[in-house]
Symmetry: C2
Subunit: 181 residues, 2 copies
DNA sequence: CAGCGATTCTTTACGAGTAAAACACGTGCT
DNA sequence: AGCACGTGTTTTACTCGTAAAGAATCGCTG
């Protein structure tokens, strides 16, 4: 019950972020509400938006959108062929979206498709040499860029943050699986 | 240089999250890369996706999308009229998107527009009574739902997480302002 | 082995966001 | 006054994702 306020812990002294401002406005207009959840969810959303925008820069140079790169990355990191369904699950997107992206990526010569001999409904996708080279060239740039952006936080804090997010995420994912929605 | 691995801190014992799995796959295929940034950025993105999906539930019941609610919320929390430009800045979306949303929301009778008497280019938007009532009815449900979802983390960890995210966010926002992109 | 339900993927129709152009006004300079 | 220029907003053309329907195929059952 003591919640309601508190960025808690974490050394102050930095600039007030936009979420803190928004929360402050809500408190002024609806002091009866416990705005605690906003301090996490609002920030996660805003961070995701800003990070994506930053992260997109190295990808755009390679002529790839993030979802496209996710798809190529899934093929690269698993190391074997995947079906469209696998790719949809792996990239958390709909089957239809995967179909469209695959169409473009095969046209660009980055992935190849091969029909299954046993079950003719399914296709197997793999990276072409060009696709593999592209991923291998872009990923290090990508990571370097991300590292630069995250350097806003020192190493210890990065570790703490990764740990907390991992804990939240693993429980969210577990919960989703049970609640089925 | 010692990075590369480590969820660090945070009591283990929970399930492995999907990001940890993905990072493990990358390590197996490209052990030369420092995948540290993924542990934060990947998780932020994935958490944002899952939280939004969850968060959308109470909103959908009210017939609102998240961006629509953000717009109404901006009007409610500032307490005064805003121009389309203000709303675009406040909700971090493009002017064009705001125009479209305003069109729908005014048609639904949730916001009203009033032309400026001095400068006839600008419009002033405010919530109608119905709009205000809707926000005031939905927001508490929204927050309750968010609180439930976040209860995956105990109170202390929530505070830590909010603090770390706030620190990261305030520096990211500061950086964006200087780099101007 | 014919048929029916389940699956795997693709297609279609549509809604929503974006960038860039267009539009409508103020402002200040000459 | 006349006119270029900047600003605030809307419109246009296009891209991308989704949900729902469709098409092809498998496997089981009578």
């Amino acid at each position: 019950m003591t919640a309601t306020r508190g960025p808690a812990a974490a050394g102050d002294g930095a600039r007030r972020d936009t979420v803190a401002t928004v929360v402050g406005q809500w408190q002024a207009v609806r002091p009866d509400l416990d705005t605690g959840p906003m301090e996490i969810i609002g920030r996660v959303n805003r961070c995701a938006a800003l990070l994506q925008q930053a992260e997109d820069a190295p990808l755009r140079r390679a002529g790839l959108s993030r979802p496209e790169f996710d798809l190529l990355g899934a093929l690269r990191r698993t190391g074997h062929e995947l079906t469209p369904g696998d790719l949809a699950r792996e990239t958390f997107s709909s089957g239809a979206a995967v179909t469209k992206r695959l169409k473009q990526l095969t046209e660009r010569g980055l992935v190849e498709r091969r029909g299954d001999t046993r079950d003719r409904r399914v296709a197997h996708l793999r990276l072409t040499d060009a696709g593999r080279d592209l991923v291998d060239a872009v990923l290090p740039e990508q990571l370097a860029y991300e590292r630069a952006v995250l350097s806003a936080l020192d190493r210890d804090r990065q570790g703490e943050l990764a740990g907390l997010l991992g804990e939240l995420l693993s429980r969210l994912e577990g919960h989703m699986r049970t609640v089925r929605a």
